[in-house]
């Protein structure tokens, strides 16, 4: 049984089980209040699934891509929750959750998942389908692009406003069961901090 947390878009928290599927998922769409809502959503997801933290076998973290500030709240919470329980952290690329949900509903073929990156840019990931275990096969991305420069126009495109933590958790369960490697435990910022090294003092007298 896994707790899954994603704050790459809004805030989504779920409890999943390999056999039982998604036991609970709670979401807040607001993209500005991750720090405020994260605690109540964890409490609600656990309560709805009827389990207590020590019963979890791991914590899944959506690693992005996503706008910096919000993304970090979920990763920080997931890492700390896992640390506190002494259970493994399972890092998963957030777009994989959208792809899993798409294919789980019976769809097949190529897929392009697109999310808002703010500053008039988007994040995208391309998928070819699912493997024998039902895991989405990411073939390219995640990457950053201007809206008019997003590649793979031939693929079915999903513009996702939310990342479902339930899907994130199921990807983790399937990858674990199949012995596949997880994503690296690194946030997918895909942008450098906006700073320029200082070039010494500026004159004040003219």
């Amino acid at each position: 049984m896994l707790l899954a947390i994603d704050t790459s878009a809004g805030t989504s928290v779920a409890v999943v089980d390999r056999d039982g599927g998604i036991l609970s998922q709670v979401d807040v769409a607001d993209t500005m209040r991750h720090a405020e809502v994260i605690g109540s959503l964890i409490t609600a997801a656990l309560a709805e699934a009827g389990i207590r933290p020590p019963e979890l076998s791991g914590v899944v973290s959506g690693m992005g891509p996503g706008p910096f500030t919000g993304l970090r709240v979920g990763i920080s919470a997931a890492r700390t929750f896992a640390f506190a329980l002494g259970r493994p952290l399972v890092p998963i690329a957030s777009h994989d959750a959208v792809a899993w949900q798409h294919y789980a509903s019976g769809a097949t073929g190529g897929l392009l998942v697109v999310t808002d990156a703010r500053r008039r840019e988007v994040f995208w990931s391309a998928y070819s389908g699912v493997d024998a275990e039902g895991l989405p096969q990411r073939t390219d991305g995640p990457a950053l692009a201007k809206p008019d420069a997003v590649p793979f126009p031939e693929l079915t495109r999903i513009d996702a406003a939310a990342i479902p933590a339930g899907g994130l958790g199921m990807v983790a369960e399937l990858a674990f069961a199949a012995g596949h490697p997880f994503a690296a435990d690194e946030p997918l910022y895909l942008r450098s901090p906006d700073v320029t090294p200082s070039n010494g003092p500026k004159r004040v007298t003219r």
Partner: protein
């Protein structure tokens, strides 16, 4: 919950130090700190996004380091405390997200507290740690310059004044840059100032003229001082003369210390409070400390300066304040508090 001598873990991420501290009541058990200061050096100041990224990477390692240092396990904790503000919002959010997860995973109460009051609260730690009331507190760092009247740590803190532009620590960084010294500027200016004449140049003392004192008696301003130093240095350079860097450093440092301590003493005298507490990283400045010692002694005011590693931003001060809230019977914070970059000092705890 043990309210007599609670074991509290505090998380602090308001600026560039990821601090996790553990106290048992008034006893300091651990003070683990990771700083991203080196990463900011080439930018000449704290870059919020760089700081926030560093907090995320340091968070669980620092929790682990604090537990090891204290020799306690997470299950032993009575409560968790975290800085809710003021500070850099992206940085604060990392601490808030982490603290909420820690409290929920362990089923422990969580206290969201004020960073500035934490600087005062650290003074309860240690053998002779008994903060006396009322006290004036002068908190000076790269992020804040505040003068507080503390009547009670957990229930009555008043803001007397604060900087209306740059923080004092920021002024040190900017003047260091003018003088071609590396970031952070404080230690370098302190070193050169010791070799110079503090009376060589009369730099302006911000907000000390009678007309300013009426509206800003306890407020500070360091932006004009920084510009004045830049003008003075440029004039020398333009004339092809050598800049007496030691004298500039000493005179600048004297101007900052004079205003800081002058206003703090004025607050003590005006309000009849015979106690002054210093906090914040600028306390590392030798002249700020010595001037505080001279003038409090002359005015019959008792001075308290916590150990330097407890003056700079740290998790132990947050744990200490959290423990005081527990010991005074305060309820934990609700589940929905956030990061508040401008949290007023009167909000000692966020509910």
């Amino acid at each position: 919950m043990n309210r007599e001598d609670p074991l509290v873990l505090g998380i602090e991420t308001s600026c560039d130090e990821t601090g996790v501290g553990i106290v048992r009541g008034r006893t300091l058990l651990a003070n683990a700190i990771a700083s991203s200061m080196d990463e900011h050096a080439r930018y000449g100041g704290v870059v919020p996004e760089v700081a926030a990224r560093a907090h995320l990477e340091s968070m669980t390692p620092m929790i682990g380091a604090a537990l090891a240092e204290a020799g306690v396990s997470l299950e032993d904790l009575d409560a968790i405390a975290v800085t809710s503000g003021p500070g850099l919002s992206g940085a604060l959010m990392v601490g808030v997200g982490s603290a909420k997860a820690l409290a929920l995973a362990l089923d422990k109460p969580l206290y969201a507290v004020n960073h500035l009051v934490g600087h005062v609260g650290v003074d309860v730690l240690g053998e002779e740690g008994h903060l006396e009331y009322p006290t004036i507190a002068l908190l000076v760092s790269g992020g804040h310059t505040s003068l507080l009247l503390v009547r009670d740590l957990v229930s009555d803190v008043e803001l007397l004044g604060e900087t209306i532009d740059d923080a004092a620590g920021e002024a040190f960084d900017k003047v260091a840059r003018i003088l071609g010294l590396p970031y952070p500027g404080g230690p370098h200016i302190d070193r050169l100032a010791a070799l110079g004449d503090p009376k060589a140049i009369r730099f302006p003392r911000g907000l000390t003229l009678p007309k300013d004192m009426a509206a800003h008696r306890y407020d500070f301003s360091f932006s004009g001082l920084k510009t004045s130093v830049a003008r003075w240095v440029e004039k020398k350079q333009d004339a092809g003369e050598e800049v007496p860097i030691n004298d500039v450093a000493a005179s600048f440092r004297e101007a900052v210390a004079d205003v800081l301590i002058g206003k703090a003493i004025a607050a003590c005298t005006d309000l009849g409070v015979p106690r002054l507490l210093l906090g914040g990283g600028v306390v590392a400045n030798a002249r700020v400390r010595s001037l505080a010692e001279e003038r409090t002694a002359a005015a019959g005011i008792s001075l308290r300066i916590p150990p330097l590693d407890l003056c700079t931003d740290n998790g132990a001060m947050i744990a200490a304040l959290g423990a005081q809230l527990v010991m005074h019977g305060h309820d934990p914070s609700g589940p929905d508090f956030g990061a508040d970059s401008t949290l007023p000092v009167t909000d000692i705890q966020v509910h």
